[in-house]
């Protein structure tokens, strides 16, 4: 007899999920600062922590999403030597809020497993990069729009490509019994 454990609704399962999110946030932040350099294209790198942030917000809702975004951003700010602490926290909080709008109770796996998830990641990433580059450009002589169009959009697209992996994990399997 096969026992199927479904921890979705228990507090313990919820706590385990949050611990997994926290560990994932640290691992992905470190990965973003180390090994992701090796897949950078013309200096552009995907933002893996943003995908995690969107995933949590879509899965857990807007309220958890904004806190998750804040904490993920803060972790990344702490780990990143160049970052001004608070910038990542601010932008990822916004991402948590935006992605949280697309949260639907009992439909989370369906949303993550569909192309919608990619669109949510793309949209969130564009807003995230717009805010991030606005703050970045503010202290320099760079023009915001050309800089954002050149780097912000490209990074958003590259990040969206990586969002395919969680989407595929949640995609409904066909042809298997």
């Amino acid at each position: 007899m096969k026992i199927k454990f479904k921890p979705e609704n228990t507090n313990k399962a919820r706590n385990i999920r949050f611990i997994v999110y926290f560990v994932s946030a640290i691992v992905l932040s470190v990965a973003n600062l180390t090994v992701i350099n090796y897949i950078s294209v013309e200096g552009l790198m995907p933002d893996l922590t943003l995908i995690l942030c969107v995933l949590i917000a879509v899965r857990e809702g807007q309220f958890v999403g904004v806190f998750a975004g804040f904490l993920i951003g803060l972790i990344f700010d702490f780990l990143s030597p160049e970052a001004v602490i608070g910038t990542g926290a601010l932008t990822k909080t916004v991402v948590g809020l935006i992605a949280g709008w697309f949260h639907r109770e009992k439909k989370t796996d369906f949303i993550i497993g569909s192309y919608r998830f990619l669109l949510i990641v793309l949209f969130s990433s564009i807003v995230h990069n717009a805010i991030y580059f606005f703050m970045y450009v503010k202290s320099s002589e760079l023009m915001f729009m050309p800089f954002f169009l050149k780097y912000g959009i490209a990074i958003s697209l590259y990040t969206t490509v990586f969002a395919v992996f969680p989407m595929m994990l949640k995609m409904p399997k066909k042809g298997y019994l």
Binding site: V30, G43, V66, P81, I85, G86, A89, G96
Partner: protein
């Protein structure tokens, strides 16, 4: 009161969002990366060690961009080296010219070669100096290395110099060390022949050949070239001496016109004697 809590409960996401944004902005405003606390220093140090650990993996994009940068730098350096070499050559040339001016016995008028032409196998160069610069027909021309030729035509602003690489030109020359006199003739390419040197005279390869004071066309003691070979031919009373000119006639740029014309009285005596000899020779031919 209950309504207030309901309101907060209803819009808790936005209240949380606002609070977190305020906290983030506060962190940004007080955040100064130059003042890293102990914990952050430790974290960044640990991440740095991880980055160092992961750096053993070859990073293709970085290598490509580094390679491109190196190539660009190499190209720039190559341009710089070419410029520096050119400057060095120019510097040496100018130094030679300065030395030349220091040791001059004549007045030199510098001129640029502005044109080159060949008329009936005779090579001419056009110089940007003319009558306005006191240039006269008959003046000798040299560069920093040695004798070049002689002015054969002058206009107001330009002059024409006939190069010594010309079969019709004969130059009274002498070997600097041994003071042996001879007549120098161009035999083609970068080769001259020093004629009328008796076999008994010792000619050393490497000796410098100068213009002789016997010359009525060129000032004395002007360097012409260097002895490259000296050998005897059976049945000939003179030895064959080959001379290589100092000057590179193919790439003349800056030359000096020597403000010197041989003494007119001497010229007159020589031309008078030439005339008398020609008349005597023609009379002798008629008698025969």
């Amino acid at each position: 009161m209950r309504k207030f809590f309901d309101f907060i409960e209803r819009y808790k996401e936005y209240f949380a969002f606002t609070a977190l944004i305020v906290i983030s902005l506060s962190l940004i405003s007080v955040g100064d990366i130059s003042k890293m606390g102990g914990f952050r220093s430790f974290v960044i140090g640990s991440v740095g060690r991880l980055q160092e650990f992961s750096s053993f993996m070859p990073y293709n994009a970085l290598l490509v961009s580094e390679n491109r940068s190196m190539r660009e730098l190499n190209l720039e350096n190559s341009f710089e080296i070419t410029k520096m070499r050119r400057a060095l050559i120019e510097n040496n040339k100018l130094r030679d010219l300065m030395t030349l001016k220091d040791h001059k016995d004549y007045v030199y008028i510098s001129a640029d070669v502005v044109g080159k032409s060949t008329i009936g196998l005779i090579n001419f160069n056009t110089l940007n100096r003319g009558k306005q610069d006191s240039i006269k027909v008959g003046m000798a021309v040299r560069n920093d290395l040695g004798l070049i030729g002689r002015i054969v035509g002058v206009s107001d602003s330009y002059s024409l110099v006939e190069l010594i690489v010309n079969k019709d030109i004969k130059i009274a020359a002498k070997i600097q060390n041994s003071r042996i006199d001879g007549v120098l003739e161009w035999v083609g390419g970068r080769k001259f022949k020093l004629k009328n040197i008796p076999k008994s005279y010792g000619v050393v390869v490497g000796d410098t050949v100068l213009t002789s004071s016997y010359s009525n066309k060129y000032p004395a003691e002007l360097p012409i070239g260097i002895v490259r070979a000296a050998f005897e031919k059976p049945g000939d009373i003179f030895q064959r001496v080959e001379v290589e000119p100092f000057a590179e006639f193919a790439n003349l740029e800056l030359v000096f016109i020597i403000n010197f014309i041989s003494n007119p009285e001497r010229e007159a005596v020589i031309s008078d004697m030439d005339e008398k000899l020609r008349i005597r020779q023609s009379k002798a031919r008629r008698r025969r």
